[in-house]
């Protein structure tokens, strides 16, 4: 009671704010709960759904496999499913400090091609699945995981290049970073899917997914580079000198002394970039890749399920939120672990 009085009704203005907030919450929350949970139908047919007043979650449950796997052949859905299980298992173990070791790194190195084989097939008696049919959640995860994993080291190299004493490398890196940052991701994706093939010799084609993937990597790396550069420039000059005075060469002093400290400082902004890169993978719809956002929209264009967009978009939002939230919570955990020296 005392707490309420002190924190919510301390002044007339605060009291008014409290009342207004409570009123808004009262007007919005109960109806939402009623819509989403109480009057909702989870497994009803679309006709039944349409007559009801609550949310129709059956648009998700009925179409879940299409939303998740897109146009991947129906009988083969277990393959991307297994790939995702492998990915989530690896991510889970990476999250836990106890398991972070050389062995885990080897598991990652082994796991990536295994996932690729499951997705693509063509050997070990697996039916080959054209990558044009890949879609849904596996595609989103593929673009995100490979995109972030490749963009991060590339960004670090660009940052080091930009601070290099060699004029050619420095100029190259500056031009690259500024050019890439100067255009929106959408235009890069268009370029990769429409303009780039024009320059390829006749008969040579590069997979559309790979082109989109490269565009995402190049784009994200430029942003990572600038954040990392900030970290590098924020380093105490004495650290460079102490490393040099031990006789460490450039590569060793960067790897052992400078980068571990600089990258730690920039964890929060780096994670922001990686999170937005994760969400930006949804832009691949414009070059007709069926990522999870596009497969959901496809469901909505089916006359049977038209009009249930709130349900579908809430579902997609929850999925994206789960992805982004686990990234940011992982980064917080990482920061705590690295904070021991203080």
């Amino acid at each position: 009671m005392k707490w309420i009085k002190k924190n919510l009704f301390s002044t007339p203005f605060n009291s008014a704010l409290t009342v207004i907030t409570l009123f808004i919450l009262f007007k919005t929350i109960p109806p939402f709960i009623k819509w989403a949970f109480i009057e909702s139908s989870w497994f009803a047919e679309s006709e039944v759904c349409k007559s009801g007043s609550g949310a129709c979650w059956s648009v998700i449950t009925y179409n879940l496999r299409f939303i998740i796997f897109g146009f991947y052949p129906y009988e083969e859905h277990w393959r991307p499913f297994v790939s995702m299980i492998i990915l989530f298992t690896l991510l889970y173990f990476t999250r836990n400090k106890k398991y972070r070791s050389k062995a885990l790194l080897y598991f990652w190195i082994a796991g990536l091609p295994v996932m690729g084989i499951f997705m693509k097939g063509g050997i070990f008696g697996l039916v080959s699945v054209n990558s044009a049919n890949w879609g849904g959640l596996p595609l989103t995860l593929l673009l995100a995981v490979f995109g972030l994993a490749a963009a991060y080291p590339l960004g670090i190299m660009l940052a080091l290049g930009r601070l290099s004493k060699m004029p050619a490398i420095k100029a190259l890196c500056i031009v690259y970073i500024e050019l890439i940052r100067g255009v929106p991701l959408i235009s890069l994706l268009f370029m990769s899917s429409i303009i780039f093939p024009l320059f390829l010799p006749e008969g040579v084609t590069i997979d559309k997914i790979i082109r989109a993937q490269v565009a995402i990597i190049l784009f994200t790396a430029a942003y990572v580079a600038e954040v990392v550069r900030g970290g590098l420039q924020g380093m105490n000059k004495g650290q460079y000198e102490a490393a040099a005075s031990l006789g460490l060469n450039y590569y060793l002093s960067m790897r052992l002394i400078i980068l571990p400290q600089a990258l730690k400082i920039v964890i929060p902004p780096t994670v922001s970039i990686l999170i937005s890169a994760f969400k930006d993978t949804s832009l691949v719809v414009i070059i007709a890749l069926y990522d999870i956002l596009k497969t959901s929209q496809t469901v909505l264009s089916n006359p049977k399920w038209m009009g249930f967009s709130p349900e579908v978009y809430i579902f997609i939002a929850v999925l994206y939120f789960a992805g982004c939230f686990s990234m940011s919570s992982f980064s917080r955990k990482l920061e705590e672990e690295l904070d021991r020296e203080k």
Binding site: N236, G238, A244, S245, L246, N249, L252, L256, K264, E341
Partner: protein, 249 residues
Amino acid sequence: MKNKKDVAPFIEIKGLNKWYGDFQVLKDINLSVLRGEIIVVCGPSGSGKSTLIRCINRLEEHQKGRIRVAGSDLTDNIKNIEKIRAEVGMVFQHFNLFPHLTILDNLTLGPVWVRKISKKEAEESAMFYLEKVKIAEQAKKYPGQLSGGQQQRVAIARSLCMKPKVMLFDEPTSALDPEMVKEVLDVMIQLAEEGMTMIVVTHEMGFAKEVAQRVIFMDEGMIIEENNPMDFFENPQNERSRLFLSQII
């Protein structure tokens, strides 16, 4: 011939000039240091004394003149510079320990990655030097958990782990609280007594009197006076040295 090599100066500086833009920080410096010599460099702030010793391991580049360390010239050759740096220990005013590594890892990093000795061997030698600077019980801690005096002693041990042929000290006690100065000076005196070649930039005149074989007084980028400590303190030859001494004592 062999005998001649032994008496040849370990560090030889001839006609050294250095500019920061238009400003000349070092003017025609000539200096030779023999193995086992202990030299104290002093002078007012801005006189170029730190810059001088930082030139010796090429943390600063010189524009004119010649520096020879252990028989090889300091040039742009980066491999050569790295080799010389491994032989030349340096202790900084602000310690510059690596905050993300434990004390032990701070000490073993150089030997393991530059000297390529085994981790186990490096740790044994690190513990030996930590004992020497009387701080072995802190081996598992991080630099941030130590006092300034302790950090500076760790920094000295870190340099010693590389088994350097000469140690450069760049105002090693200037950033310390007064009560911690002695613990660092004691370690340095012990080193001096063991025959380490040392070039020390400091204002600690007590240290100079006790162990230095030569005192070099610098002002405005020039060596004004070079003398043995006894004569330097009792009977300075130069007007400016006299003024400087009267100000700090």
